[in-house]
């Protein structure tokens, strides 16, 4: 079988022509439009709501508040429960009595069009009693703070202590112990397409069809069926083209994913809701936001003996995702390094801010920032280059599988499957020419320019279970159709999955049409998150296509009267090796696989006449099935571990605090590459988001929980001016845990950027002795650090 290669994407022509289907493009006949009244306060009691004026508007069809929903207004499920999450709380679709963050949904209007719906939202009168808000998560658990939830003392959802080895003993015996206090700000995924839902209820069939740009349509479908009292069989959720997700678009459930279908059932009319950008900033989930005190014990050579990390994790107003983010932080903090003794203690606290759930990186950028800051501290104290400290502590290529000693986010052991970290770092050093940098740096300093070199290394647990599935079918036209339950938000699944199928079937990937995120087309699976799609669904496609391949070979061998071993699949045909012209196309075989003696279309009908022979007795016997199709599932036993090393040369202008990248190098290992161009694209985007998080993006809340930079004007995402050329070098250490040998790549690019920027800024500003202990580093903050250092 041939290998994989860079291929242009199947999904691009329709997207380029403006013929994609995004949720807001779906416009069913007679559709009504919803708008949401959201809390203008971070924390407030609702004394009363008067909707009479809004209801009286002639173009308004309905106004719903919590009391109108009654029993339907239940708290959302807590998706990932954990025994230590003693005070988990989830939100209701519409707030009852009290709101806990700005943006929390309070009422919904359904009207003839969105303009009117928004007018009517403004007509709703709420008598608010503002309450003191908890915003600074570092102080949230302190005595005397206001309570986000009246029944959660000290705003503490959970406190978790985990220990590997004997850290106390190691600290007592260490040559050196260093402590760092580190802080990472709140940010958000900010896909350019905000959220949206369109629901159509068919009262005759009692069936619901919903378009929702979720990353997990199957979970939404099954949950909705339960809430609405409909059979799962009668609910379909379609996640069509989705304009970026980054974790933000997976939530069970956002209020609107419950309210919009509810209204469609109540009103017997299609209902649509499209989020605007301001709503997205205040009501969609966010992430980052941790404060760490980390201690490291080392021997005289800089070998890490133990780490103790105590941190506070801000979960916002609720815990819809349990403790997934801090658990990832804990398990990924050791990164590519051997940490024989490790104590981690974290507290999850509520604040009056929007909910926190995974955003690209999901706890890893924080973990990497902490670990790499410790590496830098060790290097500085022991007068070593940071990369020397890295090398002395890396897990070595012959030490896999490597057990970190803690359960990962999926409950399985945190056990690295494969990798080669020293080789990756050497490649990064070579590519960026680290050896020549110090001379360049001192020459530049003579000209008053401050250059800095930074590295960072990370691992990423990817491709977790439980499982995904795939269905592959060859049609009489020779076209191949393939479906899976998970979704695509730009990752190129319609191409990578097609390549996997095409390789098995010996056809052109362009002839494989992949369907994602349509529960009517594939009914099993979990969703696209945690860099898992390629590992889980990709391997399921491989298995399903291999099963079809076997059917193709069996049938072709029978019809061509050879043994299957004499056949090869190439150019969309089964060919007898060494006998030119003795061949059957996949289309003809698909026709022949259906034992009906007619078919549609010239070629298919000829194939049917020629190939479908009369048979005695039943045409299908012994469990035979018609057609060239198969459905298979892949359930990984545990996560696969991608890894990488980034390197950059930056220039800092001490006058303005501006940071500019002169070079950016990524060495990345995600196992077998299916489509290098797509993998590089994923890394590029990840790095850009990492740069955003390192230098620009910070959600700024005032003391009342008001988000003061809720627009693209004020929340600064990098533009083409800020992102440098990114040089990507691939290493391929296949995973032993799945047939394709692949590992996930979705989040990788983002993880080490903040850590790398910290090292590079300190290096550039070494003459000023600047210490970086937080992210992001705005120009103003760099100026402050310079002023403090002098």
């Amino acid at each position: 079988m041939a290998g994989f290669s860079a291929t242009r994407r199947n999904e691009d022509p329709r997207l380029l022509l403006g013929m994609g289907t995004f949720v807001d493009d779906v416009e069913p006949a007679g559709v009504l439009h919803a708008a949401i009244l959201r809390s203008p306060y971070g924390h407030a009691r609702i004394r009363s709501i008067d909707v009479s004026q809004a209801r009286a508007h002639p173009a308004v069809h309905a106004v719903y508040t919590a009391s109108d929903l009654g029993e339907f207004n239940q708290p959302a499920p807590l998706v990932v429960p954990h025994p230590n999450l003693t005070h988990g709380r989830t939100q209701r679709p519409l707030a009852v009595d009290k709101v806990c963050f700005i943006g929390e949904a309070v009422a919904m209007v359904v009207a003839d069009d969105r303009y009117v719906a928004e007018d009517a939202v403004d007509m709703i009168e709420v008598d608010w009693e503002p309450l003191p808000a908890v915003v600074d998560f570092r102080a949230a658990a302190a005595e005397g703070q206001a309570l986000v939830h009246d029944d959660v003392p000290r705003n503490t959802a959970a406190r978790v202590v985990q220990v590997v080895g004997r850290p106390e003993q190691a600290f007592a015996q260490a040559a050196h112990v260093f402590t760092e206090e580190l802080f990472i700000e709140r940010s958000c995924g900010s896909p350019i397409e905000a959220r949206g839902v369109v629901a159509v209820f068919d009262a005759r069939q009692r069936s619901l069809r919903m378009w929702d740009n979720t990353q997990a349509p199957l979970t939404i479908k099954n949950g909705l069926a339960n809430m609405l009292g409909l059979p799962e069989f009668s609910v379909d959720v379609i996640s069509p083209d989705v304009g970026g997700g980054f974790g933000t678009k997976i939530m069970m459930f956002y209020a609107e994913e419950v309210l919009v279908p509810w209204a469609a059932v109540q009103l017997g009319r299609p209902v649509k809701w499209t989020e605007d950008r301001r709503e997205h900033f205040i009501s969609a989930n966010q992430e980052r936001g941790q404060s760490h005190i980390a201690r490291v014990a080392v021997d005289a050579e800089g070998q890490i003996l133990a780490i103790e990390d105590v941190f506070v994790h801000d979960t916002g107003a609720y815990t819809p995702y349990g403790m997934v983010v801090p658990i990832i932080t804990v398990t990924q903090l050791p990164g590519p390094y051997k940490v024989p003794n490790y104590r981690s203690e974290f507290t999850v606290v509520y604040t009056n801010t929007p909910c926190v759930s995974p955003y690209r990186g999901a706890g890893r950028p924080h973990a990497c920032f902490v670990m790499e800051r410790l590496i830098d501290r060790i290097a500085r104290e022991l007068h070593l280059e940071p990369n020397e400290v890295r090398r002395r502590n890396f897990v070595q290529p012959d030490e896999f599988p490597w057990d970190v000693g803690l359960p990962f986010q999926d409950g399985a052991p945190t056990m690295y499957d494969s990798g080669n970290y020293p080789a990756g770092l050497a490649l990064a050093e070579e590519t960026i020419d680290a050896a020549a940098f110090r001379a360049e740096q001192s020459a530049a300093r003579k000209d008053g320019r401050y250059l800095g070199l930074g590295f960072a290394a990370y691992v990423e647990g990817t491709g977790i279970g439980p499982y995904e599935g795939a269905h592959v079918r060859v049609e009489p036209s020779g076209q191949v159709f393939a479906a899976t339950g998970l979704t695509s938000q730009g990752q190129g699944h319609h191409t990578s999955f097609a390549q996997i199928v095409a390789r098995e079937l010996g056809c052109d990937p362009a002839h494989v049409t992949v369907v994602t995120g349509d529960t009517g087309r594939f009914n099993w699976g979990a969703g696209t998150y945690a860099s898992r799609a390629l590992v889980t669904a990709g391997n399921a496609f491989g298995l399903a296509a291999a099963a079809v391949r076997e059917k193709v070979l069996r049938l072709a061998a029978e019809l061509l009267e050879v043994s299957p071993g004499d056949l090869e699949l190439r150019d969309g045909k089964a060919m007898v090796r060494g006998a030119p012209g003795r061949e059957l196309s996949l289309g003809a075989l698909a026709t022949a696989a259906n034992p009906i003696r007619y078919a549609y279309g010239k070629e298919a009908s000829q194939a049917a006449l020629r190939l479908v022979k009369p048979r005695e007795g039943a045409v299908l016997s012994g469990g035979e099935e018609p057609g060239l199709e198969a459905q298979r599932f892949f359930a990984p036993e545990r996560a696969t571990w991608a890894s990488g090393q980034h390197a950059a040369v930056i220039e800092v202008d001490p006058q303005t605090g501006d940071v500019r990248f002169l070079r950016y190098v990524v060495v990345h290992d995600c196992g077998t590459l299916i489509n290098p161009t797509i993998v590089e694209g994923q890394i590029h985007g990840g790095v850009a988001q990492g740069i955003g998080g390192a230098l620009y993006e910070r959600l700024q809340f005032d003391d009342n929980g008001q988000l003061v930079n809720a627009s693209f004007m004020d929340f600064l995402m990098p533009t083409a001016m800020e992102i440098p050329d990114i040089e990507v070098v691939h290493l391929e250490t296949p995973s032993p845990l799945n047939p394709l040998g692949v590992k996930g790549v979705g989040e990788a690019g983002t993880i080490p950027v903040a850590a790398l920027v910290a090292e590079a800024v300190e290096d550039a500003l070494a003459p000023f002795n600047v210490r970086v202990r937080e992210m992001p580093l705005s120009p103003a903050r760099i100026r402050e650090l310079l002023e403090q250092s002098v």
Binding site: R8, D24, I192
Partner: protein
């Protein structure tokens, strides 16, 4: 009944006459009145650039423009670029060849901005390209392959777009 005004606009070369509310955004008119959903709306406050269309050959944010302001104007949307679904516009082709898109949501704005750039500037430098694209946000690509696609389109078209 809300007040409505007649507007007459040429959209992708075809004349359209409609009675619209004065407050109707051009982006909503294109998307929901004319069904030209290729133009996307990312922020509704004129920053992200996803909704960029050409109004009398100049790039404009259709979310910051009222439909009534386009009365008498000629508007080109992404649907107006290719001569047929089988024959992509050179800029579209370059974006396909260079993997200049991932989710495809910002893409229409990127394409229109690029067409406007290349009409002004046959052979833009990388700095010109980045400056021209700096009003269009993309969250997927890190702009790497978008810049590459624009360069490729410039090389192939040599000022004739």
């Amino acid at each position: 009944m809300p007040d409505r005004r007649m507007v007459s606009v040429i959209v992708n070369g075809r004349g359209v006459e409609r009675a619209v509310e004065p407050r109707l955004l051009l982006s909503d008119f294109l998307r929901h009145e004319l069904g030209l959903t290729g133009t996307h709306v990312g922020c509704e406050h004129g920053v992200c650039g996803a909704c960029t269309v050409l109004v009398d050959d100049q790039p404009a944010r259709s979310c910051l423009m009222l439909t009534v302001q386009a009365d008498g104007a000629s508007v080109t949307t992404v649907e107006g670029l290719a001569s047929s679904p089988e024959k992509l516009h050179p800029v579209q082709q370059a974006f396909w060849d260079a993997h200049g898109l991932q989710c495809g949501f910002c893409t229409a704005g990127m394409l229109i901005t690029t067409v406007a750039l290349l009409r002004e500037h046959g052979a833009p430098s990388d700095a010109d390209i980045r400056a021209a694209l700096s009003g269009n946000l993309c969250r997927c690509t890190g702009y790497q392959n978008i810049v590459k696609a624009v360069r490729l389109a410039a090389e192939r078209t040599n000022g004739r777009v």
